[in-house]
Amino acid sequence: MTNVLVYAETRGGQPRKVTFEAITAARQLADQLGGAVHVVVAGPAGVEALAASFGEHGADVVVACGHESLVHYQPDVATALVASRARSATYRAIVFSASAQGKDLAPRVAARLRTTLASDVTSFSLRGDAMVVTHPGYTGKVIQTLKLVASPALLAVRPGAVAAAKQPKAGTVEAVALPELPSARVTTTETVLGDTKKLDLGEAPVIVSGGRGLKAAEHFALVEELAAAFGNAAVGATRAVTDEGWRPHADQIGQTGRLVSPDLYVAVGISGAIQHLAGMRTSRCIVAINKDKEAPIFKVADYGIVGDVFEVVPALTAAIKSAKQGA
């Protein structure tokens, strides 16, 4: 009982950054156990071509199910694939990423196997018969250490908690057929992406985020321009802003939206309500620009500038542009 199974998330037939993080996490566990990493991947026909990149990150075996019906994530199919693989062999752990897709799949697989799940895990280690993991609870105000005594131990690892690392293994493909299911009860008919050219909030090293201090939807151009100057930035927003409809709901960073921890977080016209801080306080470096020097955002900002966003932000955009050109 030394092998580790991992579910490789894809979107549009391509792996996401979190996929390599999950495979790396599984590799770490398998190395500790002296076992192999088996990857399950589902996607459109030809998805087995991804096996090479999974192998680079430590997959010994890639169980691939390619079918035209799997262009979108299909929960019933993915659940059946992972659960049947988990039953066909003995695994000490099953690793998912705690992304939207992984958080959708992992508890389904857990219940199908009549076992439990440790979700949104930020660290993990084996201690005798137990898997000991940490998990931020109460919107990150408390760090919980959890003990999981089930085998297989199902883990959903928080995006960014493990850095993807290369460790070449065979990545041998084992093709499997589409599982036979009673007619699909839930069907994804369409994936609507906001703007596929933009970096995703969970993957961008820099996030520029705007709050009510921008006063109107059209002033988000300032935030967009600053993000463009960085070149590797995504754009986020506060709940006040998404409630106003200035930005799509999916851009909301906070307790009830996305939890992010980029290298650099630039808060533009954000006062720093508790619910917003809960979503970004683990960022490595926080810059805040706000006209009110008493704003709570300045209590967490490594570098705060008190001032009018309509003056400071364009100046910063210009300065970042020239710094990037000089680099």
Binding site: P107, A111, V142, T145, A250
Partner: protein, 250 residues
Amino acid sequence: MKIAVCIKRVPEMDGTFRIAASGAAVDEAGLKFDMSDFDGYAVEAALQMTEKLGAGEVHVVSLGPDIVQETLRKALSMGCARATQLKCDVVPYDPFAIASALAAELQGGAYDLVLFGKMSIDSANGAVGFMVAELLGLPMVHGCSKLDVAGGQGTARREIEGGGEMMTFSLPAVVSIDEGIARPRYPSLKGIMAAKKKPLDVKPAQLGPVALTVERMELPAARPPGRIIGEGAAVVPELVRLLQTEAKVL
């Protein structure tokens, strides 16, 4: 249309959190408790569906000690018809243990829909709803910001990173609710009075096996105190210098 909504009593997150003497729980003294945010959206969505159809009723279920009756009464005062407490002294952390108890209660209830909030705001695992669906053998759609039901079929939009997925599903089903669907109503005085007379059943929780427990809780390392480096656009060159040389993020 018969709808069950599973709700959880949680502390409000803007309080100051301290660790209890056991080292494995939050000290509840000084914290205020209420229905978990997303569960409020789920109750509201359920009430609006039955109101729109002009038929059916909404039942609420919560698992825990007697204090959860407060949260159940709030849901009754919003307009739910009946409440059930699945009684246990301590709410276990293990989502499968909880899901087993909820599934045992919901099984045979002939519900067209079972709703959950997208996740509880305290543990934020978002696992129980999926597990209940699996145990009941029902389809599950997670994180819906739009939900329509007609003729035994449901359509929903669920939120994913950077966009949304459009889904169709058959009833009965389990659906978890994201914000953006409907703002929860405040209980009216009339609703509060009526809630006192509505049925609230208490049954022992038939918990599943517990394999996941909290061993320890700690407060995270505090961030260094914030620093204001200056005022106005004139400070921008200094900020860029600090980002390059001190924070090394440029």
